[in-house]
């Protein structure tokens, strides 16, 4: 069965072909079910292969289809890798992806371009599977670029909205900045190792100088910064919320943005060999987590709050892989995929019901109008806040525990961010679902929630509650399944640094208690501020007006980038347009040549007088000159 893993990519591609070429003829209902069906097939195949992984020799199997590029010593084959890491990613991508596809049927029911939507969505699933299943950096890069393309297409899906079109461009361009570094990293891998295949690279890696490995990993990390929305390239992700909500859930929360985490985990041997880069990854992750969480505190757009929390949670994952806790990173990746996809889709359900109003200042009291959405959002919010025993609690706690062993400062940042996370999550929940409706007319005109949209919510809510069972804290003597599952991937790296040891029982218990207290504290604080004393938020905002304004305007990062990068870039563009292109190439080179030819022709054509006498005189004088010349020579 594992030999046929490539079919997991083929199924969604078939969906792309069918919906892409015949979508409009098939009708809206069928479009959606083709989209869902192909992903469901991939999921089924993925699940079957997943079960076989423990039986494979060395838990891994290479499935080679054919030689792809064969130029001199550059040999790249189209081949896939079945191993614990790739299969867990496949399950997350296709599983969460399938639920989001189902949800999208309901969400997009009034859109006139359903076929195009599902074409893009299926193309995304195929690209993402290419990314995670490839057994070499080239395939990873191809998938990496393809998911970027799909992200662009889907953010700009409603391209008639200028904001959406701009957001798509922004996402694509910012990602290109990161991809540039990533491509350089892949080039450097090739020049250093002479191969791009994971197994060969990792085998040779310990013999390579630390400097080279550090540069390679840093360049690869630049790609991860772009794709996984870390400082300083996170700016595209909040804007990406202009896209349809299923897109935000699928691409900008659950799957694509975690590609950087996957890539670093896949390259864990390289990162283990480059402690400098790893420390950088951890620092960037922790700072991003904190930074994005502070912005989320003051936003009023429900989807943007979730977007900043995604950036923040991705920061946690980066922190995890940076401190060498790769399995915790993947664990958080999976649980985050569950609860963040859930939160986005629940937010989309609110949007759907409220006619695209997403400003939490205009919502409120939706608890009774949208009961399923409320309860699932609440569960997702609890998981995001790290409320004890939810999925997010275990994964976040594990990251914090590993960070604690690594560096206390990073741990402190992470813990404080957890407090902020709980606070802003429940601020959003309270303002959206509790209290009195702030816009009565809007409230009364709300649609009912439809079952095609709520079913995926319920499934994901269950996963958000129970997903923690994948990785119970091993220090307490509980089975940590995911750590054992990923062992074959990570053991080579661990053998380089010595066995990963778990903290002492006492420390671990203390850390878990700290996380629990922090989560509950954040939730209580949100309740206290927004339910008990609703006026306090405004008073705090007024008292610390300057700080509030800075946060509300997202630290003016977009404005700073505009001034520092976009405006100079535009000025440079204008310079090249006016001086190089217009003045030099157009006026001097192209038009200049034409003018010279034309002027020469005008002068010379005067000689063609049309009077035969003149010509004869010319011939005569010419002959005389020639004769005289030959005589005098």
């Amino acid at each position: 069965m594992s030999n046929y893993i490539w079919l997991a990519i083929v199924f969604p591609l078939l969906g792309v072909l069918i919906n892409g070429f015949f979508g409009r003829k098939l009708g809206r209902r069928l479009n959606g079910w083709i989209g869902v069906g192909t992903v469901a097939l991939s999921f089924a195949l993925g699940a079957l292969v997943f079960m076989q992984v423990p039986g494979l020799p060395e838990h891994a199997q290479r499935v080679k289809l054919w030689d792809w590029i064969s130029v001199g010593s550059l040999q790249i084959s189209l081949s896939f890798l079945v191993d614990p890491l790739s299969m867990i990613m496949t399950l997350v991508v296709t599983g969460v992806g399938m639920l989001i596809h189902i949800y999208a049927i309901g969400y997009m029911e009034h859109d006139k371009d359903v076929a195009r939507f599902f074409t893009y969505l299926n193309l995304f699933i195929a690209s993402m599977l290419m990314l995670v299943l490839s057994d070499n950096y080239f395939g990873l890069y191809v998938g990496w670029e393809l998911v970027g393309l799909c992200s662009y297409l889907l953010i700009g899906f409603w391209f008639h909205k200028p904001a959406a079109a701009d957001a798509g461009k922004k996402a694509f361009i910012v990602n290109r900045v990161g991809d540039f570094g990533f491509a350089l990293g892949v080039f450097l891998i090739w020049t250093t190792f002479g191969t791009l295949q994971y197994a060969e690279v990792f085998e040779m890696a310990p013999a390579i100088s630390t400097t080279t490995i550090t540069i390679i990993t840093a360049l690869l990390f630049v790609g991860a910064i772009g794709k996984s929305a870390q400082i300083p390239l996170y700016v595209w992700l909040p804007d990406a919320m202009e896209g349809p909500t299923p897109v935000s859930a699928l691409i900008h929360a659950a799957t694509m943005v975690t590609a950087g985490v996957y890539m670093i985990t896949r390259s864990n041997i390289l990162y283990t060999l480059a402690p400098t880069t790893s420390a950088l990854v951890a620092t960037v992750g922790a700072v991003t987590a904190f930074f994005a969480a502070t912005i989320a505190l003051t936003q009023f757009d429900l989807k943007r709050i979730l977007a900043y929390s995604t950036v923040s949670q991705l920061g946690y994952m980066m922190l995890a892989v940076g401190v060498g806790a790769y399995s915790s990173g993947i664990f958080h990746l999976a649980t985050h995929a569950f609860f963040k996809a859930l939160l986005f889709m629940a937010a989309g359900s609110v949007m759907h019901a409220m006619r695209n109003v997403i400003d939490i200042r205009r919502l409120g009291g939706l608890k009774s109008k949208l009961p399923v959405t409320y309860w699932t959002f609440l569960i997702g919010g609890l998981a995001l806040s790290g409320f004890p025993l939810t999925a997010g609690f275990f994964s976040k706690d594990e990251i914090l525990a590993k960070a604690y062993e690594f560096n206390f400062l990073l741990y402190a940042i992470g813990l404080f961010t957890a407090l902020l996370t709980a606070f802003y999550t429940f601020r959003a929940i309270i303002l959206t679902f509790h209290g009195q409706p702030k816009d009565r007319k809007l409230y009364d005109s709300a649609h009912r929630e439809s079952s095609v949209m709520t079913t995926p919510l319920v499934v994901l809510a269950a996963l958000s509650l129970l997903g923690g069972l994948m990785g119970l804290p091993a220090a307490l003597g509980l089975p940590n399944w995911i750590e054992g599952w990923l062992e074959p991937i990570l053991e080579a790296g661990q053998s380089l640094t010595g066995e990963m040891h778990h903290a002492a029982l006492g420390t671990e218990v203390m850390l878990i208690l700290a996380s629990s207290v922090i989560a509950i504290l954040g939730i209580t604080a949100a309740w206290w501020v927004y339910v008990k004393n609703p006026q306090i938020a405004e008073r705090v905002a007024a008292k610390y007006h300057s700080a509030y304004t800075v946060l509300f305007n997202k630290y003016y990062i977009d404005e700073i980038y505009n001034k520092l990068i976009v405006e100079p870039g535009k000025a440079l563009g204008r310079f090249f347009y006016r001086v190089i292109d217009k003045a030099f190439i157009d006026d001097v080179m192209v038009d200049g040549l034409a003018k010279v030819t034309k002027g020469f022709g005008a002068t010379v054509s005067g000689w063609q007088s049309g009077y035969i006498g003149n010509y004869v005189m010319g011939i005569f004088v010419g002959s005389v000159v020639i004769v005289v010349y030959f005589f005098l020579r």
Binding site: S605, W607, Q608, S609, G610, V616
Partner: protein, 100 residues
């Protein structure tokens, strides 16, 4: 025997007369006749040298030129006649519609 230089002198004079005619006259018919005179001046030179050198090559060449000249005159006159029909003139200054 007449010295070759006289023939050459005569030929040069004929050529100059012909060239002068081509340059100065405006009547296309006259110009064509002047071209013929120039050509025959050349023929005369060729025959003179043929006699001087005792080789027949020059004379063969002359026959060749005469044939070509006959053809050329036939075509030239035909063009001229057609031109006259079009613009009712044989003055070459009237044939100036091709000027640049």
């Amino acid at each position: 025997m007449v010295h070759t230089s006289y023939y050459l002198l005569l030929a040069a004079m004929l050529f100059a007369i012909g060239a002068g005619g081509v340059l100065l006259r405006k009547n296309a018919l006259i110009i064509m006749m002047c071209v013929e005179i120039m050509m025959n001046a050349v023929n005369l030179t060729l025959v003179a040298f043929s006699r001087q050198l005792g080789s027949l090559t020059g004379q063969v060449f002359v026959f060749m030129i005469m044939v070509v000249a006959a053809v050329e005159v036939a075509i030239g006159l035909a063009i001229l006649v057609e031109l006259y029909r079009q613009i009712k003139s044989v003055n070459i200054d009237d044939f100036s519609s091709l000027k640049g």
